[in-house]
Amino acid sequence: MSWARPWLAHALRLGSLAWLVFHFTLTGLYVLPPSPLSTAAAPVLGAYVDRYFPQNWNLFAPNPLSQNLSLLVRPLTAAEAASVAARGLPESGWYDLTRPLWEQHQNPFSYAEMLGHFHIVTLQAYLYGDPAARARALVELRRLASGFVNARAPSPYAYVSVALKIRQEMDLPWPPPARARRPVRYTAVGVYPTDPTMAPAPVPAVAARP
């Protein structure tokens, strides 16, 4: 069998080289902007790259994020939740879950940058995504809110509902104005029952800015 070993070694060499070419051809198609080639190879890209080697190098591309997005949360007691239909959402008592994460993102030893980025991506998916992405984003926003409420609530059933809003601080176009307030837009997400089974999320929160 000694004659087989050199052949086997050569096969291994050529096989690994072929894999390298195959792998990076597909990876290139996967990470570059959509093209007829990537569309044609979509089934293979989904089954191979997307499943086992997913990656995305489009941070700040094609244009960078320039707004400040925040998730605002208002825990509601049973009485408050019952009066929402008649009186609308309360004006006070809102918490901003995202702003403290921006403020701590420079600390490399904290989760602030990662969690803040997750908030932003989820809020963007809710605001601008396709129906499937919006539905998934809504589930995650509700879970984020429930985790926060469960960590802060005096008892598991103190707050039966939670109201969610998105605060968007818009960018100011170039050239930079000498003095200007950035326009702010609010998007009501809705009032949802809290999920008492969600693990409490000991995340920081601050009172929402008016």
Partner: protein, 432 residues
Amino acid sequence: MSLLGAGWRWLAGSPRARRGLRVLQVVLGTSLLVKMVAYLPLADALWGPRGIGRDQSFVPAFGPWIGGWADRVFATPLGTHAVFVAVALGAVGLVAGTEVRLSTIVALLGLVLLRGRFHFVQGDDDVTYLALAYMLLTLPPAEAPPAGAVRVWLHNIGVLAIATQAVLVYFVAGFSKAFGSEWQTGTAFYYVGQADLFSSPLLRALSRSPWATGVASYVTVVYSLLFPAAVLSPLRVPWLVLAMTFHVLTGLLMGLWLFGTVMVGMDLFLISDAEYAALGRWARARLTAPGPLARLYIDGFCGICRSTARLIARLDWCQRLEIVSFRDPECVLPPGVTLARLETEMTLLDLRTGRAVGGFEAVRALARHLPALWPLRPLFAAVAWGGWGDRAYRYLAERRKIVPDPRVCRAATGADAECAPRDELGRGASSD
């Protein structure tokens, strides 16, 4: 044909990028360790059985047997925390360089589980995951199979995969930005400054300058697009140094520390073994000398001068200095320097040029000779430029306490000797 032949020889020859690979392992291990510690408070809330990722299953990707087993890991908080501990242990192994293959497998498996459970990943997660996956093909640090062995070939395929991935990251980042109107108009940097999650007060202030925002926006795109060509050219090392500077700046200005750290690791990986060896030779030549390069004359009768000499000797890691007391009768005074001058100021004689400098100028020359004092050189230069150096030096020198003591004639070298009076020419009289 010759290009193909050269490529074949490159892959079949000796294992490549061994130093770069080791550096990358240390960098990836360190960043993973930091992440596992930093993310641990959110382990239950994001990855745990009651966390945000609780409805994610591994079964579609890995089948009912492996996928089902992976799902069960996250069925309890204990299992969730165990994954964090496993990744941290793998990270420690990567940093320490012990059981590197096992450490890579453990860290990689842990990352597969964490990524599958909570779908949100960032750039540094992707780079780490992919680099660790390609690293499975490479040789552990201590292993050295003969040239031409299949294991060497696979190692070099792994090296090529990591390098190609690094190049792809830069190129795709630049290519995708090139389609954006804000990058095309040179205002992207200004808009980044407005997103507080990726900004800082300094970045916001800088980004209001048309020059800063224009140059930063265009350079980012052009630099990334040229990266593949640059790393194949003689410009590779300067180009990589520029990349590392860029990543340090993104850490300082934008808080992208983890991504920056991981990318610095990838940049360091792209430096070849030959370049590391050349860098080592250059550093050794700069830092070590066959004998002392300079002689420092201090006053052995002055307590402060002796303490200073001891401190300088401790900082002289490369043995570049010879420290002597001019009170030592055997001490030969530097040419053209009188005893009177030595009594008023510390003097440093450059043994290569024969030039002697005294006072604050000697302090600055010392800082040039001692790498430990290099960080102080800008400060010394500023003080000298302001004219404060000599004044401060004279103030201290004139107030130093001189106690003639025969035991400390050679205090600088630690040896005792009898002192004999010196004449004005600086020659020690015979002690006979």
